[in-house]
């Protein structure tokens, strides 16, 4: 006789379903409560690691965000902008203005290309060195996420000369870029942009790649 069967087998199964259902309801309930509370504070904590969007022309509404995970206080003060869009001054440049946010901002290919052409941003390739060597956006610096986390000094000493930092990787869900962007924010960097499309999108648009010489 197996110890798993039960005169009340259906009851146990039903109980298991009930536990899963109750847990799910509580979890969703927590999320709803958290969001409500934080919307009221004009501070979407649950979404603090989600991204705003930079489209070609405009900077997104700003999701104010303070400390990151409570682990270390973000050096960048919370920024809350009420205007939904901030258009760049046309006389100045046609590049979108990048606010000093305590969170990364997503950027799409069109804007990425503009920044690249204007030399107005520092590009960071978050992929491992082998992939970087195989072809990267011209001028990009390689800063593999795995190395960055083990050597935080590299993040702190990184000097973007006040320019926005555009991080990219191999596309997809772009975890490398996101994680690196958060790590850089924690180490005090500002103006972090993430090019979610990464190399596949860049290459797909027919833009050139730069290969490192074999050493």
């Amino acid at each position: 006789m197996s110890s798993f069967d039960d005169r009340n087998g259906g009851g146990v199964l039903l109980g298991a379903v009930a536990i899963v259902a109750l847990g799910s309801l509580l979890g969703i309930g927590q999320n709803v409560m958290v969001r409500k509370g934080e919307d009221a504070l004009h501070k979407k904590d649950f979404q603090r690691r989600s991204l705003s969007w930079i489209k070609t022309e405009a900077v997104s509404p700003v999701l104010g965000s303070g400390a990151h995970g409570g682990a270390s206080p973000a050096p960048v003060p919370t920024v809350v902008t009420d205007s939904p869009f901030r258009m760049a001054e046309p006389a100045e440049t046609d590049l979108p203005a990048v606010p000093d946010l305590a969170q990364p901002i997503q950027m799409q290919l069109g804007a990425v290309k503009k920044f690249h052409d204007a030399g107005a941003a520092v590009f960071i390739d978050a992929r491992p060195k082998e992939e970087y060597d195989g072809g990267h956006i011209p001028g990009a610096v390689n800063l593999p996420y795995d190395e960055a986390v083990t050597d935080p000094a590299r993040l702190e000493s990184f000097d973007a000369q006040g320019k926005p930092i555009i991080i990219y990787c191999g596309g997809g869900t772009c975890e490398l870029s996101m994680n690196l962007a958060w790590a850089m924010i924690q180490s005090g960097q500002k103006k972090l942009l993430v090019f979610m499309g990464g190399i596949p999108e860049w290459e797909g648009a027919g833009y050139p790649l730069q290969r490192s010489e074999a050493k």
């Binding site: 110890s3 039903l14 536990i19 847990g23 799910s24």
Partner: protein, 141 residues
């Protein structure tokens, strides 16, 4: 062996141990849902749309199962849930390990750093066995 593992004290001990492990795993994840969502995403296993949903619900399921085990409310059902959860976690860890992903397990939240690897896999196998014992129908023998 079978009789020993079905002994009500053994089953009860396994239930309490499983409950404590699940409690320790659930609480840090409940307090930092976005971090857990990131940990799930790092496995590159589940579709993107499900990351937040799983991150929201899974820790609470762990918590409810743990409390049910501790308080002896539907404790066999709770142990079954725990066993199923452990099987899933073990499979996820095995997959990540086989893919050579150097990621953090995320099992107990961000308080402890636990790289996915053979140690984590064996720990999960052990916890799965523990939960399975907790799910046995106790006999007085």
């Amino acid at each position: 062996m079978d009789r020993f593992l079905s002994h009500r004290w053994v089953v009860r001990a396994a239930q309490i141990a499983t409950a404590l492990v699940f409690l320790a795993a659930a609480l840090p994840k409940i307090s930092d849902v976005p971090q857990f969502a990131k940990d799930i995403a790092a496995y590159q296993l589940a579709p993107v749309w499900s990351h937040h949903l799983v991150a929201m619900t899974l820790p609470w399921i762990e918590l409810v199962a743990a409390l049910a085990l501790l308080l002896k409310i539907r404790e066999r059902a709770a142990a079954m849930v725990a066993t199923a959860a452990m099987l899933t976690f073990t499979a996820a860890v095995a997959w990540a390990w086989s893919q050579g992903l150097s990621i953090d397990c995320g099992c107990f939240g961000k308080g402890v750093s636990e790289p996915v690897g053979v140690a984590k896999f064996l720990q999960n196998v052990g916890l799965t066995a523990l939960a399975a014992v907790a799910a046995r129908r106790a006999t007085g023998a």
